[in-house]
Point group: C2
Chain length 129, copies 2
DNA sequence: TTCGTTGCAAATGTTTTGCACCTGA
DNA sequence: TCAGGTGCAAAACATTTGCAACGAA
C-alpha cells in the first residue's frame, strides 16, 4: 500500500527544506513554495510535510511555541531555542545518546529515542543586552 | 502589578494536579474541576494553568501529540511518552543536567536549561505485544 | 472601592479532512 | 486505467481574549 507517486510539489518542499538552516514552519514553507507553484495549497504542504516526516526524509520539531518547525537535516542533532528572539538553532555538540541508558535504568519499558530541546539566550541576544 | 488574589478555582486546580501522577491536559483538568465547580469555564482553567505554570507552581509539558499536559510535580525530572498507548510517564532517573555543558561547548549563547522527552514503548505495552 | 478573577462566547491560530478533479505510473 | 496527489473550503482542535458581572482585600 501507499505506492508513493512522484509529485513536483513534494519534491519542491523537500528541496526547499534542504536549503534552509533555520527551521521553517508549515506556513513559511507554504509562502516560499508558492513563489514556484502559486496554486499550491496549505493543505498540500501539511500533507507532504507529514508524509516526508513519517518517511524520515525530514524532521518535525515541536517547540511548544505555537507552530511546529521542520528540519531538512535528518542527521541526529539537538536544538536550541532562544527565549528572547524565538530563533530555533542547530547545536553542534557531542552525542548525548547515552542519556537513554541513564533513563532506562529504573524503567521497565523500552526507550527508543529522545528529543532534547535546550533553551536560553542565543549569541546575538546575549551580546545585544 | 499582578497583586494575585485568592481564587477557589485556582486553588482547586492546583490541588487536583497534586493528586494526579498522570499528566492531564487542560481539558481533563476542566472535566474534573467541573465536578466540584460545575460553572467553571474552560477559559478560566487555561488562564489558571498558564498562571500557575509561569509562577513555577506547576509544570507545562509539551509533547507534540496535540494538547499540552500539566504536571503538579515541580521537582526537576524527565518524561517518557509511549508511542503505542500515548501515556506520559515520569522517569525516576539520575540527573542529566550536565548535557547542558556538553551543549554549550561550541555555542556562543547562554544555555539556561533543557527539556528532554524520551520515547519508546512503555512497560505495559511491551508486555502486551 | 478597587482591581484581579470569572463565565461566556467569539475569535484566533494551527492542522486536518472531505470531495471532486488532476496526474503520474 | 487507476490509485495516489492536489486545490479548495470547511471542519476540527487547542488556546486566547474581550467584556460585563463577580468577589477578595
Amino acid at each position: 500500500m501507499a505506492a508513493l507517486k512522484y509529485s513536483r510539489q513534494r519534491e519542491s518542499i523537500k528541496e526547499f527544506l534542504a536549503t534552509r538552516y533555520d527551521h521553517p514552519t508549515a506556513d513559511v514553507v507554504y509562502e516560499n513554495i508558492r513563489k514556484v507553484y502559486p496554486n499550491i495549497s496549505l493543505g498540500t504542504v501539511y500533507r507532504n510535510l507529514g508524509l516526508l516526516a513519517s518517511l524520515g526524509e525530514i524532521q518535525k520539531v515541536t517547540t511548544g511555541d505555537g507552530a511546529d518547525h521542520f528540519d531538512g537535516n535528518v542527521m541526529p542533532h539537538n536544538h536550541f531555542i532562544c527565549k528572547s528572539c524565538g530563533k530555533l538553532i542547530d547545536l553542534d555538540m557531542d552525542s548525548i545518546d547515552y542519556i537513554q541508558k541513564v533513563a532506562g535504568k529504573n524503567f521497565d519499558g523500552h526507550i527508543e529515542g529522545h528529543s532534547t530541546l535546550f533553551y536560553g539566550t542565543c549569541g546575538d541576544c546575549t551580546n545585544k543586552s
